[in-house]
């Protein structure tokens, strides 16, 4: 009898904790959305740095180029986890994330993987010419995901 009572209490406790966790996650959605928007802005800044170097508008700097590529790569690795369930339009906060993300999560994650791979190649590029050659592939990976998973304007 004792054990039955404790088992019941434990089960109730777990249920309460789970409920709290679910509520907490839902309440966290705006914060998560802001976090990933910041991450994407970081992607844009890294792309801008590389663009200016590739165009010759900024002097070539191998270290800066590698740093920018690393930023893109690190964020790419995080992308699948930056879009948990409940952080789409239903969160009630302005987001450009389309419902298609959660309808096609496997494809979405695969596109993030492509960005991870292309940016890894960019990190490994050893000179200006190699960076110039690989950079468009990174851009294609960005656009390839945005086409179906991001609203045109935020």
């Amino acid at each position: 009898m004792n054990q039955g009572w404790r088992l019941g209490a434990a089960a109730a406790g777990v249920a309460v904790l789970l409920g709290v966790a679910v509520v907490a996650e839902a309440q966290n959605a705006p914060a998560q959305i802001t976090q990933r928007q910041e991450a994407m802005k970081g992607q844009g800044a890294a792309v801008r740095t590389l663009t200016q170097m590739v165009r010759g508008e900024q002097p070539w700097n191998q270290q800066a180029a590698r740093q920018a590529a690393t930023t893109i790569n690190n964020t790419a690795k995080m992308i699948p986890s930056l879009f948990p369930q409940g952080t789409g339009a239903e969160a009630g906060v302005k987001t450009a994330a389309l419902p298609a993300i959660w309808q096609n999560k496997a494809d979405f994650d695969a596109k993030a993987k492509t960005l991870e791979e292309e940016s890894a190649k960019l990190m490994a590029a050893n000179d200006e010419a190699a960076v110039k050659a690989q950079f468009p592939n990174v851009g294609k990976a960005c656009g390839g995901c945005h086409e179906n998973y991001r609203a045109k304007q935020q």
Partner: protein, 304 residues
């Protein structure tokens, strides 16, 4: 003797002319390879595949089935492969050119302006014929068309007549002699082929474009997204963009912020602007820069 020779010559030329016309209209006769390859470039710039190929579901080339959501209902792009039953295989070149120029189907029915004949009307004869030549080389696919999901009164074809009377001015592109050849080429691509204004110009409630504000942005875009102002206004348009910025946008969809366009513009970049030749991209940019800047801030889509 000379008269006979003259008559013979005239008859020969007439016969040759008739034969040539018949050759153009016969469905089985292949056009010259260069016409079809020129036509493929026209095809890319006109962006046919975006509405006629169901890329999302890996559908066959030009077999139709793409939903186009508008405020008037959902239209499904038809099959324009040379299939004689389900595509346009039974059409003649003249039928096709009439569809482009006048917005009429083979049976004479008015086409819905979701098909941008309002822009294609400006195509040159040569481009229209080359495009036809290319379309004939695409594999025939026997996929029936999905019926449009359009309610009353918008499904009344007679209503299209009224719409066209108000909003449609047919006619080939006329170059502006005051502008350079490059600007005119850019104007032709934007107005007649890539039909940029169909999205980038404000639509009214009846679905007509506000020609006075051409390319100055549209709050009622496809996918219910706002479409940017691409006139050279420095604050609300592309006035501050460099040539390199504009080139990268057309080629890769990249904005000056290092962002990459999403949604339907990403598709446009992939299927159309990304396939512009270097010279044509420069022409498009020259044309856009030649436009009067229109100050029009297009409101971003409100959440959620």
């Amino acid at each position: 003797m000379r008269t006979a020779a003259c008559i013979a010559a005239v008859l020969f030329l007439l016969g040759a002319g008739i034969h040539a016309t018949q050759a153009q209209e016969a469905s089985a006769v292949a056009a010259s390879p260069s016409a079809a390859s020129r036509g493929q470039y026209v095809f890319n710039l006109a962006g046919c595949t975006s509405c006629h190929t169901d890329e999302k579901n890996k559908g066959p080339l030009l077999a139709g089935g793409v939903p186009l959501k508008t405020p008037f209902g959902t239209f499904y792009g038809p099959n324009i492969t040379p299939d004689p039953t389900y595509g346009i295989g039974a059409w003649s070149e003249a039928d096709f050119v009439r569809a482009l120029r006048e917005g009429r189907g083979r049976d004479g029915a008015h086409l819905f302006p979701v098909f941008p004949f309002t822009s294609f009307t400006r195509m040159t004869d040569e481009d229209a014929k080359d495009l036809w030549a290319y379309l004939r080389t695409v594999p025939a696919v026997p996929t029936p068309n999905k019926p449009h999901d359009v309610g009353f009164p918008f499904n009344v074809r007679l209503g299209q007549m009224v719409w066209k009377w108000i909003f449609f001015s047919p006619g080939r592109f006329r170059p502006d002699p005051a502008k350079s050849a490059e600007v005119n080429r850019g104007a032709y691509i934007v107005q007649a082929l890539s039909h940029c204004g169909e999205c980038h110009t404000q639509r009214n409630l009846l679905g007509g474009v506000d020609t006075a504000k051409a390319l100055a942005g549209n709050t009622r875009g496809p996918d219910k997204d706002a479409v940017p102002n691409i006139t050279p206004d420095p604050d609300t348009g592309i006035g501050k963009w460099s040539d390199a910025d504009l080139t990268d946008l057309l080629k890769d969809g990249m904005t000056p912020e290092g962002d990459f366009v999403g949604g339907s513009m990403a598709e446009v970049v992939r299927n159309t602007t990304g396939k512009l030749s270097g010279a044509d991209a420069r022409a498009v940019i020259a044309y856009l820069r030649s436009l009067p800047p229109i100050r029009n801030k297009v409101e971003e889509k409100k959440s959620p």
